[in-house]
């Protein structure tokens, strides 16, 4: 397993170019764009290549940049960010269309929170107010990122 910090789509491309990828997990910002398709907001600042989306703005790069042939046929992608599967043409769908493997994204409409509750982290129950009021401590291990509203719905695209 390799953990890589990325700030651009090119960084993601470079990371997967090692080939034979069986599992790609993205932890970061994501969600809908104004009136348009979903995106992974990979870079924290607005800069060229910092967003993965078909939208086509200056800072955007499409999912077709990601080389599908670097993934195994039994591979999968999981997007641990807000609204990765939500809305019109979500980024999970864009990536699934390009990579031809399952891509999972949250279809919940709300933002995300961190939790150390494994039941909640695995979608075993809905978020409660106490989960919102009790963020994990700074030194917590086994932390999950889940949608704030309802039961985490990790949908397959």
């Amino acid at each position: 397993m390799t953990i890589t910090h990325i700030s651009t789509v090119a960084g993601m491309v470079s990371a997967v170019s090692v080939g034979n990828v069986v599992y790609l997990a993205y932890f970061g910002h994501s969600g809908p764009t104004r009136g348009g398709p979903g995106a992974l907001f990979i870079g924290e600042t607005a800069s060229p290549g910092s967003n993965l989306t078909i939208r086509g703005n200056t800072n955007d790069r499409p999912a077709t940049d990601i080389p599908a042939n670097k993934f195994r046929t039994d591979a999968q992608v999981r997007l641990f960010g807000c609204r990765g599967g939500y809305g019109t043409d979500p980024i999970a769908q864009q990536m699934a269309d390009q990579l031809r493997i399952p891509v999972y994204g949250y279809t919940n409409s709300g933002g995300s929170l961190f939790t150390t509750d494994s039941t909640l982290g695995h979608g075993g129950r809905a978020v409660r107010q106490i989960d919102i009021n009790t963020p994990p401590p700074a030194n917590a291990t086994n932390v999950w990122l889940i949608p704030i509203n309802g039961s985490p719905t990790f949908s397959r695209f």
């Binding site: 910002h29 994501s30 969600g31 809908p32 764009t33 104004r34 009136g35 907001f41 870079g43 924290e44 600042t45 607005a46 910092s50 967003n51 800072n59 807000c82 609204r83 409409s109 709300g110 933002g111 995300s112 929170l113 961190f114 919102i132 963020p135 700074a138 704030i148 509203n149």
Partner: protein, 118 residues
């Protein structure tokens, strides 16, 4: 501004347009919305926005001001005051706004900044 409580999400990076229709309506007003938004910085009632933490109305107002002005500093707009950095992330902001008088200081700083940006 009356619909700030209806906003359910905010853009997640600087320079990225708002996607929530109510946030769009407010930011379309531009600087006209600024005085009202600054007044709301001290509003600690819960909003519908949750992006890693539960935003108060005041936090949403601040985010919209930042969007409108693209000010050089954050959360104090002119950058002259830096909040303590313990975590290096959003938790620093949460710790700061919980301190006594912090939101009022922030509001006053933004009101002054708004005046200078007319």
């Amino acid at each position: 501004m009356n619909n700030i409580h209806l906003i359910v999400g905010l853009s997640q990076k600087q320079g990225e347009p708002q996607w929530d229709e109510h946030a769009i309506q407010i930011t379309k007003l531009g600087k006209l919305a600024a005085p009202n938004l600054a007044d709301k910085i001290t509003d600690e009632s819960p909003s519908q926005v949750f992006e890693l933490f539960h935003y108060a109305i005041g936090d949403v107002a601040l985010a919209l001001l930042v969007d409108i002005y693209q000010a050089p500093g954050w959360p104090f707009p002119d950058g002259s005051i830096q909040i303590p950095k313990t975590y290096g992330d959003f938790r620093d902001y949460l710790a700061f706004v919980k301190t006594k008088g912090a939101r009022e200081r922030l509001k006053q700083a933004w009101k002054i900044y708004i005046q200078t940006q007319r």
